[in-house]
Symmetry: C2
């Protein structure tokens, strides 16, 4: 590595400095809310934060990253983390003192909140949205956000009873996807679903007890796409949901599933089939299957 | 709760007893291998272990559970954990001392290894198998095992370079699915793939750089199922993989993907499409999409 590629400022080596303490405090929700900033940890996550930051600066928009702290070891493996004036080299002790995790991965970025208003999403003519209704586990929220990113969803919406998207565990588990697509937080479920409907979206509740099977929806969609003349009309009696229509999927709580008011507000309740002995699907697994089914149908 | 439903033996309250120490030692791989036993932690996982145990006893086969330790709190929420002579009430301190995790969930079972020989799986005319090739993260392994269970797979095979399925973290992350379907461990990839092929299985490598798209395979399969006369023959030139055929999916390492020899031994390399900005799919997400695609095609 060439020294000109390295952060120029001196190595931060005092784990008890005010700066280190200020960064560590962002593990707390109240501090995050007061400052409008959060921690992005891990080299891949920091890299994706920096990528979004550069894109925004290039587009003359406000950036998202305030500071990047990286260890020498991590910088050797991810040199792109040092290619910015925002980066500072730190000792492993400093990084550990800043980090919210017992196994820090060598890089931390302090980022500005990047959630957007619901109107911004609705104005963008979205075709696929994932809505987290009372999803409480940071790892599950991260898995859903990551699956939404992979499936090319246009936005992810967290209702106010869901886990904090800026919780360091949630951020880590998105492995950078948080910086890839618009996120809405604090949505009120009672207000949200009518607005999504008014925006022309079909609302499908992912529900193990749903009366529609995702298989059936996928078959209908495939039939329309692959064999439009093969008697499809027969299976379309009534208001059958079409996966290729603009869709908002609702995913519920790990233990309780979706609350009754969300089930009532949904246009259809759709079950992902369980073929084996598993009693129910992990919400992250169910979300992956649902979002990919929609992506496939919409992009056919 | 009625006292007759409670474990009869006295409450275990000494976290420094030999018994507690013996249980805790099973967090170590060498002790597990020596004893052929492992820890199943968490009420759902213990419940599924007990369910399999009862089924086996009823079928005059050897059981899988040796001992169950459960706290009063956990027993109140999961009374079924106390309905066996194997169960002992323990204090939260005892459970914490036995547990491998910093947040024990109130129940631990000591279980016998339950992996089966590869021949047992091959003799069962399997239609869908998940093979973990150098998957190292216990959480990912658990997600794949759980997805395989949900998708109704006939077995899960761990190659010798994969994470230990009896690692307490792996067991916990399967949330009981480990007790639902046959698991083969320590398979040698060089030996395994020819035997799967000889057993009549198509070997599909889940590979981000694969030349086949899962979308294309799903469409071909849907066309055969839904519109057999719609010119399907056109898309079947060459040896196109058919999702409805008996299939072993190979899933690789989180960072490196599948090793070259596994890619070479596979009949086809299949990419799960990434529609958004995510660089690659989490291996658990990819496995979920692939296994569900096969399940759908095979059960059409």
């Amino acid at each position: 590595m060439n020294y000109s590629e390295r952060p120029q400022a001196p190595l931060l080596s005092n784990p008890r400095s005010d700066r280190v303490r200020d960064v560590a405090k962002l593990a707390g929700r109240s501090v995050r809310l007061r400052q409008g900033r959060f921690l992005a940890e891990g080299p891949q996550t920091v890299r994706e934060a920096l990528r979004l930051h550069r894109d925004r600066i290039a587009a003359r928009q406000p950036g998202v990253v305030d500071e990047v702290y990286v260890t020498e070891d991590c910088l050797q493996r991810y040199p792109e983390l040092g290619e910015t004036a925002l980066s500072r080299l730190v000792t492993p002790e400093v990084l550990a003192a800043m980090s919210s995790t017992v196994t820090p991965q060598g890089a931390i970025a302090v980022c500005h909140f990047l959630d957007v208003p619901l109107d911004t999403v609705l104005d963008s003519s979205p075709r696929l949205i994932a809505v987290l209704v009372e999803v409480r586990d940071p790892g599950n929220a991260g898995t859903i956000l990551r699956a939404a990113d992979s499936a090319g969803a246009d936005a992810v919406i967290f209702t106010d009873a869901s886990v904090d998207v800026y919780n360091p565990k949630t951020v880590r588990s998105t492995v950078g996807s948080l910086f890839h697509l618009p996120v809405v937080i604090g949505a009120d479920a009672g207000d949200l679903l009518p607005r999504l409907t008014a925006g022309g979206m079909a609302i499908l509740a992912a529900d193990g007890y749903g009366d529609r099977s995702l298989d059936e929806l996928q078959d209908s969609s495939a039939r329309r796409r692959l064999a439009p003349s093969s008697g499809e009309a027969l299976s379309l009696t009534g208001a059958s949901p079409k996966l290729e229509a603009p869709t908002a999927w609702l995913f519920g709580n790990e233990a309780q599933g979706l609350p009754q008011d969300a089930l009532d507000a949904a246009h259809h309740r759709v079950a992902v089939p369980v073929y084996g002995k598993a009693e129910s699907l992990n919400v992250g697994t169910a979300a992956t299957v649902c979002l990919y089914a929609s992506a496939r149908a919409q992009r056919g």
